[in-house]
Each structure stands twice: as C-alpha cells, then as structure tokens.
C-alpha cells in the first residue's frame, strides 16, 4: 500500500463509461473519481447499474465507450488480470471462492501469474499479516466451503488485498452478509485501510450506509450518474438533510410518490401499522432439527408460531439456516426431528403438494433457479405446483386453454408485465417474476405463507408492491412468515421478529421502536450456551 497523501489528484478516473446489454443500457456516460485514502460510496437502487460499473472497473466487462485513467494515465482494463496488475482488488457480492479448496489455496489462486510450485511459506506469512489486519479467526488450511458466509467474505477481502501494493479495493454490497456488529467491524476495517492509503469503492443500495461509510457519494439511477456529494458536502450537514437530498437524486420526481417505500430504505423505523385481528395459531413449528451437510446448514431446536393475520419476521445474516427452515416448512426437506403443524394438523410427513393443497405455501428467494423453470412459458410456471391436477390436466393430458386462462387471471391481478402468457419466463424482469410467484402462491386459499427474502434484488417500487401485498393478505387473515436480511424491512412489516443465528432461533421480540438494537444483539447470541452450533460443519 502506498502512503501517498490524499491531496494528490485522483488515483483512478472513469469518464463517459457506457455499457449496453441486450435490451438495457446499463451504464450511460458515467463518470467516477477515486482518491487514495477515501471511501467512495456508489449508491443506487437495484438495477441502477452499480454492478456493471464495478465489473468494468474489475475487468469483467469491457465498456462500449468511455475512458479510464489510472494516476492520470489512460489505461485499458481488458481483463481481470489487468485490473489486478493495476492493484485493483474486488470483493464480489456473489462470493467467488472455490469451496473445495482451502482458504490459502483460494488466496493463492492466480496470484503467481505463473504455473510453478506454490510458495506455501511466504503465502502463510502473508495470510498471517492480513489476518492481523482484518482480525480473522480461521486457519489458512480450512476448507473455504466449510466457513460461515461472513468468514468467506473476509477471505474475499483478503483475496482482494492479497497482492502487495493494492491501490483500490472494491466492495460490492459488503454489508449484506454482516450482522450489525459485523458492520461496525467493517467500519473500523475501512478506517485502517484508508489510513494505509487505499482507495475504496463501496457499492450499496442503502442510503444510510453510503452516508455513514462514504467520504464521497455518487448516486446512479437507471444507468446514469445523477449526482454526487464531495467530502465538503457531506461534512457539517445533518443526516436527515443529506437523506432528503440523496433521495431526490435516487428517485427524482418519483421521490414523493414513493415516499413510503423510500422510507424503508432511508429512515428505518417501526411503522404505526393498523392493528390486525389475530386469529388462531396457523403455523407452528416445534423443535425442528436438521443435520448439517455440504452446503446445508444444520438446525437445532427451532420453534416458532404464527397466528392467522399475523406477520412474523425472521431476521438474521444470510446462511444461518433460514432457507433450510423455509424448506422444512414447505416440505422440500425432511427434518431429523421435530414437527410442523398447520392449524394443529401435523403436516410433517406430508409432501410439498399436500401442504400446498392445504394452504401452506412457500415463496422462494431463488426465483429463477428454484421458483420457476426458465425454459417454460409464463402459463406453465403459473401452474408449476399443480401439475397433473384438474382442471389443468385431465387424464394426464394438459388442457392448455384452462392453464392459459388461469395464468391470465394471475397476470392481470398482480400486474405482471409480460407480452403474453406464452412468453418464456426467463425473458421477464426479476420484479415481474416475483409478482408471478406471489400470484401463484396466493392463488386458491392460502392460509400460511413463508416468504423468503421477498424483496431481495427488486427495485423500490416493486419491493413496496410486494410488501403491500403481504400486508393486505395478512389483513385478510393470512399467517405470514417473512424471512429477510434487512432489519429495516422487517421493522416496517412485522408484528413480531424472531432472530436466527447458526441454525437456531436465538430470540424473539415484539416490534416496537428501538427494536433494531436488540435484534442486532440476538444475531450474534447463542440460543443455549454449550449447544453445538449446527452451521459450523
């Protein structure tokens, strides 16, 4: 790392960067300046073009137009290798570790540039050095796939800094896998790195993160740079004042119209929600346990209750057993122990389809890989969970008109934008796919629905639409269990919030002002002292 004073001009400049994909102009003449010793926050809602911009910076994509200058000299970053050689390290949002290799092997991957013998001794020295800097608590010989997601992210940061002489560190949504404590740690780490003269790019869609962590903020909307705040702009203004300004940049004229939605992002606070009538206990899980396996987080002693008309949230950092719990409730997995009850009926032994027919539904977070089959059309995906059932199939043969009519009904009711129901679903946007999934699971008579990260990756408007649908359904007596990694969202939506950590429910809180802190504490708590953690396999 260099010790250049921050006053010397920009380290890296992007001018007029433009990048188009089929159907989308992802970046439209974007400018960006990075300075040593500064954190530059790149802010924008999902789909604003942040990821494309950093992919260009890290050599994954080549821009269609525009220039990049490094220390005033024009450079071409035509491959990840070129970026690495300039000292640009990237921590991707979707982790890029090889799970079967050890931590050290992952760090050494490609680092020599050559093909020769690995220098384990000096690699271990470097590991120790970075481990001290970042304060990690795992061994260099650990298998990367066996680490918790938070630890994997630390390995990613080590990887980005691995080469001596790193100049730029790009962090893509780094907080998505962090507990509030982890967030504080990251904040301290960033200070260290800045002191070392590193230029940091921090990509986020959360306004308060940009303000808190960034020395400089650039806002993207629909692929264009719509504004930026220099250090002077950021200093000496109140947070609310800054928020208002940035919200306007992010959403323009829509800011007022989207006030409710934006509030979830900008100023998280428990909403004064209309009290709903709570009915009987609709969904109850008792003492669920699951064995950990490759890529599967173990669960132990998970218990929950959701009443009819109630929205219960599950908070926690991704990968702490939330998905496994959802799949157990949906019937996609079998627990080692414990039971799942729907209105006091034991459904533990039933399959997905029997549960579905009884009104127990699951909206998955993996919309494209799990929730839909990309090569099938919208109509077929609408009846994906009713294959073989009347009236869509009779005697095993499909009744296309029935299927289309049903799908058209769903598309109309949930405003799914699609040319027709015969369109391949893979061509739809993420928001429209999510609307179709909601429509599908809300069809018939849902009584209890598990929502796994229902607004993840959606634009603000669609996200608010989804939350509104959940509220309305709960108002009509649905029992909703909402899994989310965004505490703000849960605070906005839920009556009660349970917290999961390492495959256990570590606690449960009523939603009330100031609840975030307690949730944060529960995220790192352990349910019963001495109970072996399921996730540490």
């Amino acid at each position: 790392m260099t010790s250049d004073p921050t006053s010397a001009g920009p380290l890296l400049e992007l001018h007029g960067i433009t990048k188009a994909f089929p159907g989308v102009l992802a970046n439209d003449r974007v400018d960006l300046e990075l300075r040593a010793g500064e954190v530059h926050a790149l802010l924008g809602e999902n789909g604003a073009g942040k990821s494309t911009l950093i992919s260009i910076l890290s050599g994954m994509y080549r821009p269609d137009a525009g220039e990049i200058r490094f220390q005033g000299r024009e450079v071409e970053i035509d491959s990840p290798r070129a970026a690495i050689e300039l000292g640009i390290g990237t921590v991707y949002q979707h982790l890029t570790l090889v799970p079967t290799l050890s931590v050290l092997e992952n760090l050494m991957l490609g680092s020599h540039g050559g093909t020769g013998r690995l220098d384990l001794a000096s690699a271990n020295d470097r590991f120790a050095e970075l481990a001290r800097l970042l304060g990690v608590d795992f061994a260099s010989g650990a298998r990367a796939g066996a680490l918790a997601l938070g630890q994997q992210q630390q390995v990613e940061i080590m990887k980005a800094l691995w080469r001596q002489g790193s100049r730029v560190l790009i962090l893509d949504e780094p907080t998505s896998m962090l507990t509030p404590q982890g967030y504080e740690e990251l904040r301290r780490e960033l200070e260290h790195l800045k002191d070392g003269g590193l230029a940091v790019v921090l990509i986020t869609h959360k306004l308060h993160e940009a303000i808190e962590l960034g020395d400089r903020v650039t806002v993207l909307r629909a692929g264009r740079k719509v504004g930026s705040l220099a250090p002077d702009d950021l200093r000496g203004r109140s947070e609310s004042e800054l928020s208002a300004r940035i919200v306007e940049m992010m959403f323009g004229e829509q800011a007022a119209e989207l006030a409710d939605a934006v509030e979830v992002e900008a100023a998280p606070a428990a909403r004064e929600s209309p009290r709903r009538e709570l009915g009987a206990v609709a969904l109850r899980v008792r003492d669920l346990a699951l064995d950990a396996d490759d890529g599967v987080v173990g669960l132990s002693g998970v218990g929950l209750e959701v009443r009819a008309g109630e929205i219960v949230g599950i908070a926690g950092v991704d990968g702490n057993g939330q998905r496994e719990l959802a799949e157990l409730i949906a019937g996609q997995r079998r627990p080692r122990r414990g039971e799942v009850l729907l209105f006091d009926e034991d459904v533990t032994r039933l399959g997905v389809r029997e549960r579905e027919a009884r009104g127990l539904r699951y909206v998955t977070d993996d919309r494209l890989g799990e929730g839909t089959v990309g090569d099938l059309d919208v109509a077929m995906n609408a009846v994906l969970k009713r294959i073989g059932r009347a009236p869509f199939w009779r005697g095993g043969t499909e009744r296309r008109e029935e299927i289309d009519r049903f799908a058209e009904g769903l598309v109309d009711r949930f405003d799914v934008r699609t040319p027709s129901v015969q369109t391949r679903i893979a061509t739809l946007s993420g928001g429209n796919v999510q609307k179709l999934l909601l429509a599908r699971e809300f069809a018939g008579e849902p009584r209890a629905v598990v929502f796994n990260k229902p607004t993840h990756g959606l634009d603000v408007r669609t996200a608010e639409f989804v939350r509104e649908q959940i509220r309305e359904a709960a108002g009509a007596g649905l029992a909703a269990l909402v899994i989310s990694t965004e505490i703000e969202e849960l605070v906005d939506l839920c009556d009660r919030i349970a917290v999961m950590s390492r495959g256990e429910v570590t606690g449960e809180v009523e939603n009330s002002p100031g609840v975030e802190e307690r949730i944060g504490a529960l995220m790192v708590a352990r349910a019963g002292a001495g109970v072996p953690a399921g996730s540490a396999s």
């Binding site: 089929p22 159907g23 090569d375 369109t423 061509t427």
Partner: protein, 384 residues
Amino acid sequence: MRARVVAIGKSTLIAVVPIVLALVVMGILLAALGRDPFTFYADMFQRGLFEWQGFQESIIRSAPLLLIAAGLIVAFRASLWNLGGDGQFLLGAALTAGLAPSLLDALGVWPMLLITMAIAMLVGGAWTIIPAVLRGRYGVNEIITTLMMSFIGIGVANVLVKGPFRTDVGGVARTDVVPFDERFPLLFGTRIHLGFVIGLIAILAVHVLMTRTSLGLRMRILGASPRAALHAGLNPLRLTVIAFVLSGALIGLSGSVEILGVQGSFRADFNPAYGLLVIPLVFLARLNAIGSLALVIVFSVIQIGGESAAREADVTSDVLLVLVGLMLLFMAVVEYLRVRRGLGMAFVPPEVADRLRPPGGEGGGGAQAGEPRPALGAEKAGSR
C-alpha cells in the same frame, strides 16, 4: 400462419445446412482418396432412396433406430445421460433370439412375438434401474454407471448366446434361427415389417408424452432444473427411475425388433453400436421426437445407400461414421452462429427481441445443442 411457415422453414434450413456441409467435406475427403464424390453420392441416394428395394431397406433399418431415438429422448429430456444404449439393445436382442425358438414351438407366432418383445422391454428397463437409483438417491453420475452397465450387458448377452442359448448347429456361436415366415409380418406386400410400425408408434407416443402430458412435463422440469422440481413437489427419485426405465425399455424393445424383423438369430459378438449413432440424430433434432423421426429416416437412407456406395467405390463403410460425425460438428457450429447472431440485438427491448427470435425458445443463449443443459457434477437431485 405465415410466421409459422417461416419458422418451420427456418428450422428445416438449420437442420439441412449441416448435412450439406458434411456432404461437401466428405466429398473432398473422398476426392482426396481418388474416388469420385459425385458418383458416390449418386450411388448413395440411388440405392438408399430412389430404388424401391433400397428404399425398403432404408425403412427397415430405421425401425430399431426409431425405438432407440424414442428411448433416448425420454432420458435426455430429463437430463439423464443414458449412454448405455448398446447394452440395453443387445440384451433385448439376445433374450429375444434365445427365447423365440422355443416359445415359437410352444405357443405359436403371435404369442412368441408379444412375449419376446415384453421380455426385451423388461430387461432393457431393468438394466437401467441401478444407474437410476444411484443417480436419483445418491447423485452418482449416470454416465459412468450406464456405460459400465452397458459393458456388463454386452458381456451378459454374449455369455448367454455362447452358453445356454447356443444352437447345436456348428460354426460360429449363435442362437437358433427363427424361420423367416415366423418373424414379424410384412406390410402390404412390401418387405417392410411390423417393426417399422412399432417404431413409428413409439416415437409418436413419446412426442405426445413429452409435449402433452403431465408426466412428460414433470420429466422436463426435472431435466431443466432439479431444484425447481423439488420446489414444485415432484419426486426426483421416482421421476428419474421412470424416465430411465422407460428409456431402457424402448431401447431393449429395439433389440427385439432387430431380431424379429431382420436378423432372425443372434450371432456372438453381434453389436451394430446403434446407440452412439442415434445420439447425434436426437441432438440434431433438439430432442424433438418428430424431428428425430425425419432425421432417423434420412440417416437410414444414408446408411443403406452409403453401404452400397462404399462397396462400389471400394472404401470401407465406416466412411459413414465420418459423415455422421461431421454432420454433428457442423450442426453445433451452425447453432453457435445462430445464437451469436441473436446476441446482436443489443438495444431491442426484451419483449420485442423475444418476438423476433425464432420460436422454440432457444434464442436466449446458453443451450446450444438441445434444450436441457445438465450439470454432471453439481446436481444431486435426490440427495437434498
């Protein structure tokens, strides 16, 4: 309507271009060996297509190939790589040839035909159960297991023919011959036998199964995305077994048809290795049954005509392997170029681009050859 005609024309063109290219390259190769390619191809089409006798031969050859194609489509659509077709085929053939003579004596022609076909289907299907369960329950790669079961099947077929089924008549080890009159009946005074009808029915039935029924849809979903299958409440293990057994049964039946229609007996070390030859055709037709039907017949013409043309030109009939291999290579390349061209539509909104792309839905990129693109190592469908 017009768009539909254009679309069909386009996909026909896409299938024809690689065939033509392969013929051209083969022609150059033949010329290099001092043979006149034009004479060769003239002989080939004359014999395989335009001469009535030859054409009948071609249709007869297509019968077992249609059944194999039908069997492969079922498995491949479910992303199950049944590469053990040869073993399933030979077991079906060996059991049919071995049991037919005594069944004929005991029960007469029709019961013999029905029983041997049923047995061939049973054994062909049963031969896939181990790979199916290993794949469905433990995620064991089915390429290795079906290949190994195939080697074992070939061995068992030969052991049977050299042992219990061996005829007393001297010479090469083989089974007793089923007399010509007591094999499949011939159709309308031609030499084409009932097997062709069976093959035709099988491939049409598979078409209906895969495109119109809930079982076919379930298998396609399993093939496209095992995780979506689980999410939709399908039973991956059961579907894997069903698809595999159906596939093996059809291929086993094909062995039976080859004996009852053409060979009449099973000679030791008989192995036409049809399995590997049909796989390319099925892919060329993008796992579509109707397309496969057309290509199987084209291929049969090329094979029957080519064997005769090769004799005329004094080259080995293995020359046809080169032709099929080249077709497959060119098909893949043509597909690649087509998909790439689709990528040129950068600024066209997705809805419009979708309408501009040829129907069939492959335009989106990715799956160049056949729709499902299975992962070999990653998916452990049943093990979750």
